[in-house]
Amino acid sequence: MATTNLEVTDAAETSSTEDLQVSDAAADSTFAEVDDRERIKPAIEFRDVHLAFDDRKVLDGLSFKVQRGETKIILGGSGCGKSTTIKLVLGLLKPDAGQILVNGDDITNYTEAEMMKVRKSFGMIFQEGALFDSLSVYDNVAYRLHEQGVPEEEVEQEVRRMLHFVDLEDAIDKMPIELSGGMRRRVGIARALVGGPEVVMFDEPTAGLDPPTARTICELAIKLRDLEDVSSIFVTHEMNNVSYLTSEYAAVNEAGEVIFEKEGERLCLTNTKVLMMREGRAIFSGTDEQLQKNDDPYIKRFLHGR
């Protein structure tokens, strides 16, 4: 049942892409209205990706797409290949077989130097933050700009803007060792967002955090999706993360404050899909409603704990 869902979704995506390729002339007018032809290309696409470490298969024919502006939640138990998937997108690992496309370009066989350019359009948030211990919060967030030789006044402006986004302006001069787990993740998010990445990847960003802090991290992901139009991959195994990301949306009220509202019964404003993985394969792809109704025993056990 779950596999059927996946096939149906993929088939629908493929056919829509083919239609566009066939009728380019007819599509021009449509794209002029949409105002952005590039948005039709998936931000990230995996085509039958395989990867093994020695004799252990980590990914076994994984295929999926992340559309522009979409948040894809990759759900699954420990060791099912979730984190490996985002490392492959960044080129930190290379697949044994299959193709990985970023903005329609096949990056599978890119060299490290070519990948460095691709990585500029990505932001990555690691499990424990992965902040540079020897650098202050300011220097961590400013890292990418310092590497690019941006003037210090501009760097400071951007760092303060990003720390304001994650609500951590007071920690600007602290060292990573002085921060709590949640603060480290938020600094990691600020660092990843510098330079305006098109795609942000979260690798279990709420693991080991208390519920309010985990909620804050999810709110940041929602803000990125709804207010900054950023595509993202959100790797997690926690169901409350899925619930926040699929049922709430961010908006700006009349006072200019960001507010989070629950989508109603008939209103669907969240651009979030779920991909469920098991033993290196996608066993489900679709919306959270479809996931809840799925009959697969493994998925049921994962969702309800029994």
């Binding site: 930190l92 350019k117 990585r119 990555m124 499990q127 992965a130 540079f132 211990d133 660092r191």
Partner: protein
């Protein structure tokens, strides 16, 4: 995988790392401030232990050789023997071993910790090449500072030998210094500086490679640090033998 293949693979990986670091050294952005910081940490930071080791090594050489030389009536040659031993062999090798213990372990542990805490992955994800940012400045710093540290060890070692010869054996400082001056040739000094250049590359590349290959959390960091120090020490001693023979041929030193 047997030990021979594993060793060959390690040699290959270490050599590739050195080649990559050498190529990236001349590309922009050049990490000059990082290299200078490393020179301070490696060179200035190691100076006290190098001076201490050099002084007592020179002293003990005099202590052990003076009675034997006196037996043959050649006690005037003490300075010559101490200086030659230090400049040709003990200075470069002892300095390299001390730096391996102090700096090689630190490099391996630092890079290993960065690997297990995903800082290396984060660096790559942020578009920085870790070989250019971390490996090249460290190898360059070792390449510059190890010969300087070796010269410092040689000089303080000869001084230590002189102190022991004059205070314990009543030798005049003039006799000791003149035997030093007549004993050492320009080729000895050149040979004594070429060796630390090679040792610097060996220590830097092995420590960086072991650090970057760290697997298995904090236990892995300990393992890679131990492995870096043991491997680099052994390689330094083995390479020293072949280098000594090669220098004898190249610099036309007396081999017999």
């Amino acid at each position: 995988m047997n030990i021979a293949i594993r060793s060959l693979l390690e040699v290959q990986e270490t050599t590739l790392l050195v080649a990559q670091a050498a190529r990236r050294l001349f590309r922009r952005p050049a990490y000059i401030p990082e290299a200078i910081t490393q020179m301070d940490v490696i060179g200035v930071g190691s100076l006290p232990i190098i001076l201490l080791t050099g002084f007592f090594t020179g002293g003990v050489l005099t202590l052990q050789t003076f009675p034997t030389l006196k037996y043959y009536g050649a006690q005037d040659q003490t300075g010559y023997l101490v200086a030659l031993s230090l400049v040709r062999e003990l200075g470069p090798v002892l300095t390299a071993l001390m730096v391996t213990g102090r700096v090689g372990s630190a490099i391996s542990a630092e890079l290993g910790s960065m690997v297990v805490s995903q800082q290396i992955d984060a660096m790559r994800a942020l578009g920085t090449d870790p070989v250019r940012k971390l490996v090249a400045p460290r190898i360059l710093a070792l390449l510059v500072t190890l010969p300087l540290l070796t010269v410092a060890a040689d000089v303080i070692g000869i001084f230590g030998g002189g102190v022991v010869a004059t205070t314990l054996y009543g030798m005049s400082s003039g006799t000791f210094l003149s035997s030093v001056r007549y004993g050492i040739t320009f080729d000895d000094i050149i040979g004594g500086i070429i060796k630390p250049l090679i040792f610097g590359i060996i220590i830097g590349s092995i420590a960086c490679n072991k650090g970057l290959q760290t697997e298995g959390g904090t236990v892995g960091v300990g393992r890679s640090t131990t492995s870096a120090v043991v491997t680099a020490s052994i390689v330094v001693i083995v390479v020293d033998f072949f280098l000594a023979k090669a220098l004898q041929v190249i610099l036309d030193m007396p081999a017999s």
